[in-house]
Symmetry: C2
Subunit: 329 residues, 2 copies
């Protein structure tokens, strides 16, 4: 298929997700519970994870419609984590809309997230004529891992010393495991072999880690401006990103150590000092190394797909990886 | 069996619950996530719901050990609701210990509750050689109902007019449905017939509603003192209890209407006016009516058990109902 055909097909999958969510989430009382749920779930989004679930189901021989409820189960779980994380981070906005705890209150946001978990399990059962046990287990493991990832993230914000390995463990749990869950559920619903499902999980995991590292990279590099975010936002906020942790491992000159020390000690730098950190990254080859790591992970993701039989869905998973990394259109 | 033997047997079931929880909840990192979970789950309690699960499993022909993981699944879900409700109610203490959000913080309490849901589903699968689908569905419905109950409770706090039916719907979802879940899971694990499981659910539901009404009754009546709570706490806090809502339906004299109007308008009464409300309840036969309703519900609970074959477990369910209502020892 051509690029354009993939985009069209992606739009089709998204449409299935939207329709399934709309038909599944019809309850509206008590309003304090279901209004926030419908607000979060029925206001669009890229639907990356549910589309991945459907593609993975197809890649092992199933159909995308077979996976539609498994797909929204994954989307519900992803969104429950966003609603609860936004309370913890006191985030006022998400996707250009007020967050649930801002538009309603903390109690409504806690309850909505809790109920979304239950709705996810119920949805998953609708897609699971066989393999119900494996799918429920995958959801439970996925939720526990993402809670662990968020807990590690919160712990790191208070800790002075975080290693690169700590960080990789955190993003594995917080970001990659949710993509792995999406792939896993799709593979199970499609009744894939253990070997094929493992390959899909590896694909999703590598892609998730690559995505997170690239996110850190884009935030700190100048080309970020067209994404509508502040360049160097992570540096200003004092976030211990992949770049910072790699730099901490590597720098040796007194000036670099002083700058990083200041960053750690003051928990961030004033915005006019962002260029100093960018130069430090440049000077120490951090950008280049992070870029190489991303390439390596993307290569691993593509290679994992070799285990699967050739199919349109497999081809589209290759495209999907590049699309997610913003490398197409 | 004699009273004493039932108490001993209850202690035995509790011991199974404690041991199962201890062996199931061994993970301790990230500390921010698993310390609160272990703090909440391994610090005792009456274990009413998990014991009910084991008894119901036995009552349909299963064994109590068969139900041990289903039992802790129910206990995990019950406790997740307490952890999250305590954040919403800003409650500093529970069971004479600081609440999770007080001892840690809101983020830790949100995450711990979330993860407890996932741990509950995983535990339930360990008890479900067959019927996994029904049990998972019961857990999901139970969680959604308890979220709805809490949402209704929060909505009622802001509403001027709450009817007795509104209130009964709220306590059905918030209190009775969790006991129903406990009974349901036990019945499924024991592979009970649809008819027997339905009887167990009815037993649990009537018991749950009776328990909640009695709770309102005890709070407002003088004999409450030996429970270590303030007499009339609900009246002081302005809670729209079963007694208040019945009184609102019934009173007709100008004085009574004025007192209830003041209670609603000021959202509670000063503590020295608690006796005035108690006298109003007395004068209008509210205490008596509530007591009659409790008796009726308890009668229904006992009668529901008639459907089940006679057994030690069934006999103990009769004892359990009286024990829960504080009518034994």
């Amino acid at each position: 298929m051509e690029q354009e055909q993939y985009s069209e097909r992606y739009a089709l999958y998204k449409e299935i997700v939207e329709n399934t969510l709309r038909s599944y989430l019809t309850q509206d009382t008590p309003a304090m519970l279901y209004e926030p749920i419908r607000y979060v779930m029925l206001s669009g989004g890229k639907r990356v994870r549910p589309v991945l679930t459907m593609l993975c189901c197809e890649a092992v021989g199933g159909t995308c419609n077979q996976a539609q409820y498994g797909a929204i189960a994954v989307e519900l779980i992803h969104n429950f984590t966003l609603v609860h994380d936004d309370i913890m981070d006191a985030a006022p906005m998400r996707r250009n809309m007020p967050t649930v705890h801002t538009k309603w209150n903390d109690s409504a946001a806690i309850l909505a997230g809790d109920c979304m978990i239950a709705l996810a399990y119920s949805a998953a059962l609708l897609s699971a004529p066989h393999n119900a046990r494996e799918i429920i287990d995958a959801l439970s493991t996925g939720i526990a891992e993402v809670c662990e990832g968020q807990a590690l993230d919160l712990e790191f914000q208070k800790k002075d010393t975080v290693t690169l390995d700590d960080y990789l463990l955190m993003i594995d749990k917080k970001t990659a495991k949710m993509l792995e869950l999406a792939a896993n559920v799709g593979g199970y619903i499609g009744n894939g072999s253990a070997e094929h499902i493992k390959a899909l999980r590896q694909y999703a995991n590598s892609l998730g880690i690559a995505f997170q590292i690239q996110d850190d990279l884009l935030d700190a590099s100048a080309e970020q401006e067209h994404f509508g975010k502040t360049v160097g936002g992570d540096i200003i906020e004092g976030k211990k990103t992949y770049l910072i942790l790699r730099a901490l491992q590597k720098v040796s000159t007194a000036d670099d150590i002083t700058l990083l020390g200041k960053f750690v000690h003051q928990q961030g730098l004033p915005s006019d000092e962002v260029p100093l950190m960018q130069e430090l990254f440049e000077r120490n080859g951090i950008f280049l190394e992070a870029q190489t790591d991303v390439e390596h992970l993307i290569g691993k993701a593509h290679a994992a797909l070799d285990t699967l039989p050739a199919s349109d869905a497999r081809a589209m998973l290759h495209w999907f990886a590049d699309m997610l990394m913003n490398r197409t259109h």
